[in-house]
Amino acid sequence: MSRRPAGIAAIKNKNLAQAKYKDKGSELAESQFVQMGQQMEMFKNNLEDFAAKHREDIRKDPEFRLQFQEMCASIGVDPLASSKGFWAKMLGVGDFYYELGIQIVEVCLATSKRNGGLISIEDLRRKVEASRGRNSQQISIDDLLQSIKKLKILGNGFSVHKVGNSFLVQSIPGELTLDHTVVLQQAQEHGHVTLSGLIQTLNWEESRGKRALDFLVKECLGWVDDQSGAERSYWFPSLIPDFTTTLT
């Protein structure tokens, strides 16, 4: 059988079919796009309805606020991303966290004289609530963490350290390494730490423990006590619960 090159007609047919596929394809894409747009619109409406309906709950109830945050996070929406978005308008949540942020900064500054710029999240919560007055809504630990996350935009002034099952909020520049937070954790458990205690419980070299303790004293976070026995002990005001309601 002799092979013949494809005829003109066949090529034309093929081109035609390709063009048709292409048309169909874009048609499909367009309809999908329109559908998507509709879905998005619907979603947005529903979310708006939801937000409007539960506005009070979101504002008042820290538990609910946390769940709403989580829901938004799972679908990739950040209600705090912009203070001008409809979220802020709908909920005032944007404002809520910004306001909270300012109060956090205030409390941290005011208490830094006592604690050297390191405050436990519980103390922070107590003081922020006190400064907001008695009738304002409750603030949860999660609200504070959310707000502090937003404060990071302003630079590295604020960081959160997990110590044991609690958090310490650091409002002074200076890197706390893992060693330092481990020391703080030990101090939280026992009220204070000693060099030999660190060597024993953490299996540290003497120089490692000494370096960590000296750093914490140098950064004004740690105080030394020479009357607790044979060995100097180290104490941290940030870890002592502060029940005073005044800022300073």
Partner: protein, 175 residues
């Protein structure tokens, strides 16, 4: 008497050890200075005997078993002296007068009280002022005589009072 409201530092053991970090030490010294003045005001004492004070609850927290060393007490008292809140009574620095209110401030308080009772142009004895029944409940009731005299002298320099001595006792006339 109402219980003295101890600051948080008083229950913080390292407060009784001079801090090696200079920044922390400054905060510590500041806290000690206000504690000494607040405490003295609370117990209405103007004189502080260093040896006695060493074992008083001010510098010795029995519950914590922590005390401020003599050396550290002098650091605090010298700082108070520098701030004008303290005067040594003797060269050997064994006792001192704490001035938690300046004589002029005391004078003003006394003068206001005199005016409120319309006792201008009358003569009172110092005893009446500091220990009389009328002045009971007033802040200057029980005021140290030395400070009282200084307060009145400061009023005198303002032309609001005249300090006088008659028959060995001292009195004052307010204008």
């Amino acid at each position: 008497m109402v219980d003295f409201d101890w600051p948080w530092q008083y229950k913080f053991p390292p407060f009784f050890t001079i801090q090696p970090n200079i920044e922390t030490f400054k905060k510590q010294l500041e806290a000690w200075c206000s504690l000494v003045l607040d405490y003295q005001r609370h117990i209405k004492q103007y004189t502080l005997d260093v040896t006695e004070a060493q074992n008083s609850e001010l510098f010795y927290n029995k519950q914590l078993n922590r005390r401020l060393s003599l050396e550290a007490i002098y650091v605090v008292l010298d700082e108070l002296k520098r701030r004008g809140n303290l005067e040594w009574k003797d060269k050997s620095k064994k006792s001192c007068t704490l001035i938690w209110r300046t004589p002029a401030e005391w004078g003003k308080i006394i003068y206001n009280w005199i005016c409120s009772r319309a006792m201008n142009n009358t003569v009172c004895t110092l005893f009446e002022l500091s220990d009389g029944e009328d002045s009971e409940g007033q802040e200057f009731h029980g005021l140290d005589k030395e400070i009282l005299i200084r307060a009145l002298k400061s009023l005198e320099s303002e032309g609001k009072a005249e300090f006088m001595v008659f028959d060995g006792s001292e009195g004052v006339k307010f204008f």
